[in-house]
Amino acid sequence: MGDKNKKWFSLNLNRKVSNETTCGCGKSSGGCGSHNSNPIPNTDSKIKSIGGERTKDGFEQVFDVKMDRRTAFKKLTASLLIGAGAVSTSCSMLTGDETKEKAQIDWEEQFKGNYKLMTDDEKKGTVDRLMRSYELRTGKKINMSSKNANEDVLFGYAFNISKCQGYMDCVNACVEENNQDRDSQMQYIRIHEMKDGRGLDFGEADDNYYHEVPAEGHFYMGTQCFHCDNPPCVEVCPVQATWREDDGLVVVDYDWCVGCRYCMAACPYDGRRFNWKKPEVPEAEINHNQHYLGNRMRKKGVMEKCTFCVQRSRAGKNPACVEACPTGARIFGNLLDPNSTIRWVLENKKVFRLKEDLGTEPKFWYFMD
């Protein structure tokens, strides 16, 4: 694709490019081989960017009871003792229809495949199971979506350093929206309090302050997952439990993640959080409007991160942090829509990104008034 379709400056390195929205070679002539003459909303490239490495049919992976015995046995042995937990629940409590159904759901959930490779029907299947399971367990209903990326959408974010006053309303809104563990006080967003006159000195900054803001002689800057367009965290995951969706969101399948934390080591922006223990959210505070890739309840030992509130953004709303910010420092929108505010900011402000030299192409820009 030519320069006219490129929305931002890219590092001039001959990197491998797995998606067509940015070409790492920096040339516009097509010499690097990864240029595509088609414009961005190209269904071909979409398919490539999501299942490119593997084209295995998701159905194969779902442990369906109707599956033939041999495959079933293969999966059984593979999960070794571990599946035993699920097995024992399904064997020991065969009393009552509800327990039976619960056991059935647990069983199918334990052996389901990777969400990334599922067909839409399978996605719906697992979401239905999870909703039903929640209802069986707590008696309450939740609403979980499996909505895929919208066509012609690429999400981007901009942060106005001049406006941010360090109120942390975004942090609180994020925790509530995304059902993060209250116990360990997990937060996706960090607000760095910087000293005036020291430039962007993160080393001197405090990201854990407890005092009245705005503090004299300080300015504030927020960081979170930047949804890199060339995300190193995705490359390193041994099981493809984390990937870049078509609308640019980098997401995690909490049920597929094995908890190796390699992605965490690979992220240059401190964008990922790990569930070191079982996350706990008081029932009354749970946000019942969920997305499979977003704020549904996590379990212990899996990775999670900011998803630009996929449950909201794919429904056409702003992420919770944007909505909560009292100063208007946060701007979110569709990079492919020429009339969006985010495009206006990118075109009219002097924007910059953090650690551009790493070639990760964050879709998160900073600017000042």
């Binding site: 999966k75 571990i82 390699y262 080591a265 070191w276 223990k277 070639g359």
Partner: protein, 405 residues
Amino acid sequence: MGRLKVFKSLVKDSLDVITHGSLRYHIWMASLTLIMLIGMYCYSIQLEEGLSVTGMTDRVSWGLYISNFTFLVGVAAAAVMLVMPTYVLKDIDFKQAVLIGEGLAVAALIMCLAFVVADMGGPSVLWHMIPGIGVFNFPNSMLTWDVIVLNGYLFLNITIPFYILFRHYQGKEAKSKVYVPGAILSVFWAVGIHLVTAFLYQGLQARPFWNNALLGPRFLASAFAAGPALIILVLAIIRNFSAFNIQDKTIKKIALVVTVAAQINLIMLVSELFKEFYAPTHHSESAYYLFFGLHGKTALLPWIWTAIPLNVLATVLLTFHKLRNNFKILYLSCFMLFIAIWIEKGFGLIVPGFIPGPYGKIAEYTPTGIEIGVTLGIWALGAFVFTILAKTAINIELGKIKFKK
């Protein structure tokens, strides 16, 4: 069918050998078992509570487990230093040592895999990583490469000695046509496992402390020092406690390997230190933290300042022929070298990679009791496996157990 019968009798005989021995041997095995049980208990707590019982946090997300894993890959790779001369160059002296070396490699690899599993947040879904059943992100993720090379190496190191011992057990010579190709393959493979493990860290642009072209070669050099050093110590013990005849010549040759590797390792260390401290950049902060501490945070200082003097002293001692040929001094320097490299390639490599964090935050890491318990348990497991393997192998080689037709 005949083979199966031989195998059955081999298993029976080796079980016999393993369960009989001197009082000292029984005490040794009993204490290892005890430590393993404690480790298993600690691990069960970790399974129940999650990794929050360890000292790891979002800021320092890998710790003692991955440190030990990294170090042990090196130990496993070092078996090759003995394999090469024995099988390929037909250097007779090494023949005795090589079975021990390969046994050590097997034990080290088992420990590696145990450490990786212990580090996982979700061991119950580890099947996601099995190619064919799960989704294997090959070739993008270096971790998948590591899974392949480690398991392949484990396979090689089990089959080659097994073939040789199996033949000897029946009173036949092992056919070199069969095992030499395998041995040559394992030579390359050993370099591969260690290089791939280094690439695991080296490939992360997010961590400047690791993202450094010298990491891989330095891994190799330190591995070829620490691994054979351990083998020398083990041979010394075996010589003491069994009738297995290991000649002085063999030990001296291995000592030479250790010496050269230790010297190269030291040169690379100097080069690394020069780069970090002559013209320090923002990226040298991790090295500063490791060697001098940053902003009053000094948790790693005692470790690294134990490792460096031990490393230098051992290398100097080994360099002088007179001193090296004195076995007491040799054993001492091997021991020092082993400890020094364990610190340097474990703790001293993994933890500073995370400190300071991506935005300069300095959060220190101290392992918890449970973590240490699991770690000791896994080391005991390794020692246990090795003892069993070595005891069987030695008895076959001595002709004490033989297939009776």
